[in-house]
């Protein structure tokens, strides 16, 4: 009964998560080894835009003014930061895996400067996708963050249910002990040596 339940958990989790797990494994792997790839040292392409504005921006409501700026200047992504940097300078940061935009609103000069930076290489883009997290932004950002949590919990459950399923067949697949010991010896030893 329990064995059947564990097998079901392992199977249904995989039905839900195969794309997400694959995406994180592939982007994580590229993130880690991209220094061997061509042009990996090239990080960002940057572009500046200057605008004069006729109406003052109401910075007291950060969310509303941020959304207005996004609409007006076709800025992608979610607002990560909005704050008064100096007496006459209000800054907004917008973040999308394919574009970062820093908006500087110079209050006394009624002007806006946009610094758009885009990842210069495919490997940089994959890195940006890999690190995208946090419950912040539009509805699909929240869905993504929830999926990330579910994926993380599932990775833990995959590990535990997989070990239980193997344990039940350990006599037939005795070599499994070696793989299990190698995995956990490295993991536990790394943790201990970093804690002490």
């Amino acid at each position: 009964m329990i064995k059947k339940l564990i097998r079901k958990i392992h199977f249904y989790l995989s039905l839900f998560l195969y794309v997400q797990v694959l995406l994180y494994l592939l982007t994580g792997l590229m993130f880690g080894v991209h220094s061997f790839m061509p042009n990996s040292e090239k990080e960002w392409n940057a572009k500046m835009e200057f605008y004069k504005i006729s109406n003052k921006i109401d910075t007291s409501n950060k969310e509303k003014s941020g959304l207005e700026l996004q609409r007006k200047y076709a800025i992608k992504g979610r607002m990560m930061n909005a704050k008064l940097e100096k007496e006459n300078l209000f800054k907004y940061d917008f973040n999308n895996p394919l574009e970062n935009v820093e908006v500087s609103y110079i209050i006394d000069k009624d002007s806006v400067i946009l610094a758009r930076s885009t990842p210069a290489t495919f490997f940089k883009q994959t890195e940006r996708i890999h690190v995208l997290h946090n419950y912040k932004g539009k509805w699909f950002h929240l869905v993504w963050a929830t999926m990330l949590d579910v994926t993380a919990v599932s990775m833990i459950l995959f590990s535990i249910t997989g070990m239980i399923l193997w344990y039940d067949m350990r006599k037939k697949f005795g070599l499994g002990w070696y793989f299990l010991i190698v995995s956990w010896a490295i993991t536990i030893y790394t943790i201990i040596s970093l804690v002490i």
Partner: protein
């Protein structure tokens, strides 16, 4: 010629042993990914600093070599950013060495050879971050290098696990149309959300 039964058995063994080999990796990656979003464990300095003074005979003249020598003498490893290295007007060399779980601030008096080491312990979150990024950063530590290569091999193994897992769905596990629709539906759902993230 390989028959279908043999292929199935071969992939099953890969899935089983590969899964066991990657089990530690899965657990650490899962826990650390949760910690990135919810910050259950702090990665900042959590305990009071511990100071230690000793006298050393240093031969290196270059800052980089000097740090390497100090690391060997003190048996510590980690990153030593260039912007933290300088010699002040009293001929005292300053540097910082950072590694998951610990920060070291070092002051070496080049005239007397006196070395002061201040050690600060960081929260468990810092260890999680270090292990999550283990594949990228390989400070000159044997154990961290082993972890880095383990993560690399376990990541490749885990990709194989996904593909062999999908093979088993079709060969054995997916018995009803509902399960097949669920797998396709969730896959397409993820791709849709992913597309929205990139486009807007």
């Amino acid at each position: 010629m390989l028959n279908k039964h043999r292929i199935f058995k071969f992939l099953y063994v890969i899935h089983l042993y590969g899964g066991l080999f990657a089990s530690g990796f899965f657990l650490i990656m899962g826990l650390s990914a949760l910690n990135y979003q919810h910050k259950f464990f702090s990665k900042e300095v959590t305990s009071n600093s511990v100071s230690d003074t000793c006298n050393v005979a240093i031969t290196a003249s270059d800052d980089k070599l000097l740090v390497e020598e100090i690391k060997k003498i003190k048996n510590i490893f980690g990153f030593d950013p260039d912007w933290e290295k300088y010699t002040d007007s009293n001929n005292v060399f300053h540097c910082k060495i950072m590694r998951p779980g610990r920060d070291y601030t070092l002051y070496l008096n080049k005239n007397t050879g006196q070395l002061i080491t201040i050690t600060e312990s960081k929260g468990f979150g810092s260890i999680f971050v270090g292990m999550h990024e283990g594949i990228i950063r390989k400070p000159e530590s044997l154990i961290f290098n082993i972890w880095g290569y383990y993560v690399l091999v376990a990541s490749i193994t885990a990709i194989l696990l996904v593909f062999t897992g999908i093979y088993f769905w079709f060969k054995k596990s997916i018995k009803t149309k509902r399960d097949a629709y669920l797998a396709i539906g969730f896959g397409l759902g993820y791709i849709l959300i992913f597309g929205l993230l990139l486009l807007f």
